[in-house]
Homo-oligomer: 155 residues x 2
DNA sequence: GTTTAATAGTTAAATAGTTGAACTATTCAT
DNA sequence: ATGAATAGTTCAACTATTTAACTATTAAAC
């Protein structure tokens, strides 16, 4: 790939990704509702997807300090969304899981997000969006690789 | 498009977009540096891109209340990144522009983001990423349309 | 032309998210 | 047994956001 083409592609990617991020962020804020904040939704989703999730794991995934996780988990625990369970073998570890109420709110938000995504996915034809998703999923793999290399370097 | 295919596409989009957003967010946090917060970068970028930007415009773009904009602009003004200029004809309006120092930091962050994006765009071949960007840009247009319809409804 | 509406932005209190540094409790290594 | 490493918490300081009340200015009605 020549210099000029690469520069053009990078410029287009940064421009469109900034715009989509801003627009999607603002739409989600307006459409998805205010039961919990978006950080709390991200936390619910990651705990739900991870079997036996810990504060350390959340801190690593979101690239924040563990004290920030303690704070957000405290607020969500106060609202009755999250359970804490100590590991019986290693009593330093605290496992995080969703309470019934936590799951209810999570599923409700997932349904609303589904509707929102459906409303614009349906404006594309299937072949187009399939090809798009294939590359998007490959981008995801590339990012996972970069992230894993960074984590290895740190340890 | 049949029900089943649409559901599959929406599910794939929500999954990959959540994962990429989380990963990219964490990489940007670790790579781009801590001169300013990401909200402040978004503010710098939007002011730079908009001729004669106002608080009202920023509040609309980011879907937050105007008082939140006042607060962030105050902090950035304290750091010498932003200038305020009153409109001579309509003295209610305050135009926001970047100071020289604000532009310097903005350009520096843009260069770092360019390097980061380049490092993963170059892992794709040109045809693949071109096709991807075409659909991504169309998605951007669709989102702009949705946003404009929402703004019209409100007024 | 004066009163009323609407618009642009600010202030202040309350809540949420984040960092950095010091801390407790527990496990691992030797 | 003792010292290092790991998992998580606490606290002070800061940033980001909302809600509601506020100032200043312009536009609209009458």
């Amino acid at each position: 790939m020549c210099e000029q083409t690469l520069k053009d592609l990078v410029d287009r990617y940064t421009a469109v990704s900034f715009s989509v991020t801003t627009l999607a962020g603002s739409l989600v804020k307006e459409e998805i509702g205010s039961e919990i904040t978006s950080d709390q939704y991200y936390t619910l989703k990651t705990i739900y997807q991870t079997g036996s999730c810990t504060s350390t794991h959340l801190a690593e995934v979101f690239a924040v300090k563990k004290s920030a996780i303690t704070a957000i988990i405290n607020r969500m625990w106060d609202k009755g969304l999250i359970k804490r369970t100590r590991d019986e073998n290693d009593r330093r570890i605290v496992y995080l899981t969703l309470t019934e109420q936590g799951e209810e709110i999570y599923f409700m938000l997932e349904r609303r997000i589904y509707k929102l995504v459906e409303s614009f996915i349906s404006k594309f034809d299937e072949a187009e969006i399939s090809q798009f998703l294939k590359t998007y999923e490959k981008l995801n793999e590339v990012l996972i690789e970069i992230k894993e290399n960074k984590v290895e370097k740190q340890s």
